[in-house]
């Protein structure tokens, strides 16, 4: 067991600077309007650094730098581009503990997770896209004896990326790795709730990245995000967030006729068929862990399995065992490696979760566990902690239909296969889902019938780089992860070549 010291304290493995400028064209660049905003840690609620408050002028400067860098970067040999990704990965791995502690302090998530998941996944993601790029091939199609269609991959140019606050570093790498591998220059805007850890990363890799290939402008959505998303100087915009902003970004993109990638969340069903309880064995234990996964990252995951659907015949027993698993969760100081559940990322997030707990109760849902804010005492008193919460209710209730983005699961029962799949699909969203069954046929048929981009089958919350991630229905457009992403950041150039000396015969 280790309890890390907060960044900057004596004995800590990492320190934040008191202030961060923008990272533009390979240099620290003060905001044009000279304004900064305070960045609090959700662990204690107190500010620990201040951040440049970017505006349209800073976005323009970043776009200038990106446009200056893009042509040469796009012509760089794939092996060179892959090498950059590998070197960033190595650098992150060498500083993994520092970044993990910094990320935990920034977001409130347990350091156990940043050490074991966020950072290792980010490192692997970079290596995956380095490999995928090296192995990417264009196409050659023979049209007829004398005519060949060659297909080349070319970068889009300059792309904009807006990062969410739930996995600040990992989500930045999810977006950066394929975009850079594909040969694009990037202007990236972190979330205003978590603007600092990405700047720590930029500082760590500053000597590796050609100036202007990655530009980071911090600031508020309306002041910095909007000028980026609505700019006529980007060739694509990628956004992770919610539906109204997703619509607005698409509206801006339509004015510029550019493509979007939107990841807008979900209300993921976690479906437990009766046969999971046939035996009390490793598989049953695994299924109970699958139930408890709603609390991973305090529920601040777009694919949080926030609806548990349990088949009637095992409902009471399975739910009882699941509740025991919930009661065993250890909530505490995020910098303690024994802590399983940390702090919500911000005060407004905390308030939103509590408002959902209110409406859940008002609608008649039963609170079986949690249901309240937690005061951890001492320095942590000002932090944003919510007890892991289990509701029992009906799929038509608001708590079953909206992403709460907290450690809150809504549980209900289903009778048979059709009923279970029907409930799973009775949602506006379709990002993730879980299916648990010992019977391969049941699991397969359920997985195919559930309308969502990813169906974890007898597992949950794995995020390997080589598996496509993205939503059906209102959960968004496009995918992240998997080598297919390279093409989402590339143009297809077709050279249609005719080798015949003869005229076509029209004129």
């Amino acid at each position: 067991m280790t309890v890390y010291q907060p960044p900057g304290r004596p004995g800590s493995v990492v320190s934040y600077h008191p202030r961060y400028e923008h990272w533009i064209g390979g240099t620290w660049t003060p905001p044009v309007r000279g304004r900064y905003f305070e960045n609090p840690t959700p662990v204690t609620g107190l500010p620990f650094t201040e951040i440049a408050r970017g505006t349209a002028e800073d976005i323009e400067a970043a776009l200038d730098a990106a446009h200056a860098a893009a042509p040469a970067w796009g012509r760089t040999a794939p092996a060179e581009r892959a090498r950059l990704l590998l070197r960033i990965a190595d650098r992150m791995e060498q500083h993994l503990e520092e970044l993990a502690v910094a990320e935990s302090w920034e977001n409130g998530k347990p350091v156990r997770e940043t050490l074991a998941a966020d950072l290792p996944l980010a490192v692997d993601h970079l290596r995956y896209f380095a490999g995928a790029l090296r192995a990417q091939e264009g196409g050659l199609s023979q049209i007829d004896e004398d005519t060949v269609a060659y297909h080349f991959h070319e970068p889009l140019g300059v792309v904009g990326q807006i990062i969410p606050w739930n996995f600040p570093l990992l989500m930045a790498i999810w977006k950066l790795a394929p975009a850079l591998a594909a040969g694009n220059a990037v202007v990236l805007k972190p979330a205003e709730q978590t603007p600092a850890s990405i700047m720590l990363l930029m500082e760590l890799i500053a000597d590796l990245v050609p100036p202007g290939v990655i530009n980071v402008v911090n600031g508020f959505g309306v002041e910095a995000g909007k000028p980026l998303a609505s700019s006529s100087r980007i060739r694509k915009i990628s956004f992770t967030g919610e539906t109204t902003t997703g619509r607005l970004i698409m509206q801006y993109a339509s004015a510029n006729l550019i493509p979007v990638t939107l990841e807008l969340g979900g209300k993921s069903p976690n479906v437990f068929f009766a046969d999971v309880a046939d035996r009390r064995d490793d598989f049953y234990d695994k299924a109970l862990e699958g139930f408890a996964m709603f609390a991973l990252n305090q529920g601040e995951v777009c694919t949080c399995p926030s609806r548990a659907l349990i088949q009637s015949s095992i409902y009471d027993g399975f739910l009882g065992d699941g509740l025991e698993r919930v009661r065993a969760m250890r909530q505490g100081n995020p910098l303690d490696t024994e802590t399983m559940v940390g702090a919500q990322a911000s005060n407004d997030q905390l308030e939103k979760i509590l408002s959902y707990i209110d409406i859940g109760r008002a609608e008649g849902a039963k609170v079986l566990a949690g249901g309240e804010r937690v005061d951890l005492g001492g320095e942590l008193s000002g932090g944003f902690y919510v007890a892991p919460t289990v509701f029992e209710g009906d799929n038509s209730m608001r708590i079953f239909q909206e992403e709460i983005f907290g450690p809150v699961v809504a549980v209900t029962r289903f009778e048979d296969f059709e009923d279970g799949v029907g409930l799973a699909n009775d949602t506006l969203y379709g990002l993730g889902a879980g299916v648990w069954s010992r019977d391969g046929s049941t699991a397969y048929r359920a997985g195919r019938a559930i309308q969502s981009g990813r169906v974890w089958t007898n597992c949950y919350h794995h995020y390997p780089a080589h598996a496509a991630f993205g939503g059906y229905k209102n959960s968004g457009i496009g995918r992240e992860n998997h080598k297919v992403l390279l093409e989402h950041y590339q143009q297809t150039k077709n050279l249609l070549v005719n080798y015949s000396p003869k005229a076509q015969g029209f004129f």
């Binding site: 205003e192 709730q193 919610e242 902003t245 308030e351 939103k352 209110d358 506006l428």
Partner: protein, 125 residues
């Protein structure tokens, strides 16, 4: 005319007056989904394209000295929210998205209650 399904707290109304002074007439669109999902997004009127085909007008907020502020929600989302009444409140915080208030250090928040029987009846088409 059908009854309004929205209201505003006095603290939120004060912030709206401040934002109105800077940005002119305003609108709300109730979001869904992850991160800042479920947050009410405040924009200059007309910023987000809405239509009766795709969105439901939940009502208009009446704030002294301002044009009425329409509150919209996507129609498919309304199907799941129709039985509730929403009050726009404000808390310290920092929403993401492009909502106008985020630089102020305050964040609009939707508080919900069930419709009364009378309200529900009046809303039945």
């Amino acid at each position: 005319m059908r009854p309004s399904q929205v209201a505003v707290t006095s603290q939120a109304a004060e912030l709206l007056r401040q934002l109105g002074g800077e940005h002119g007439p305003l609108m709300f669109h109730q979001s869904g989904g992850c991160c800042d999902g479920s947050a009410p997004m405040c924009y200059p009127a007309g910023e987000l394209h809405v239509s009766q085909e795709t969105d439901r007008l939940l009502g208009e907020l009446v704030v002294e000295g301002m044009d009425p502020i329409p509150v919209w929600m996507a129609k498919d989302q309304y199907a799941y929210w129709s039985h509730t009444h929403l009050t726009i409140d404000v808390v310290p915080g920092r929403g993401s998205g492009f909502s106008l208030e985020s630089p102020t250090g305050l964040r609009f928040l939707t508080r919900s209650r069930l419709l009364t029987d009378e309200e529900a009846e009046a809303l039945t088409p």
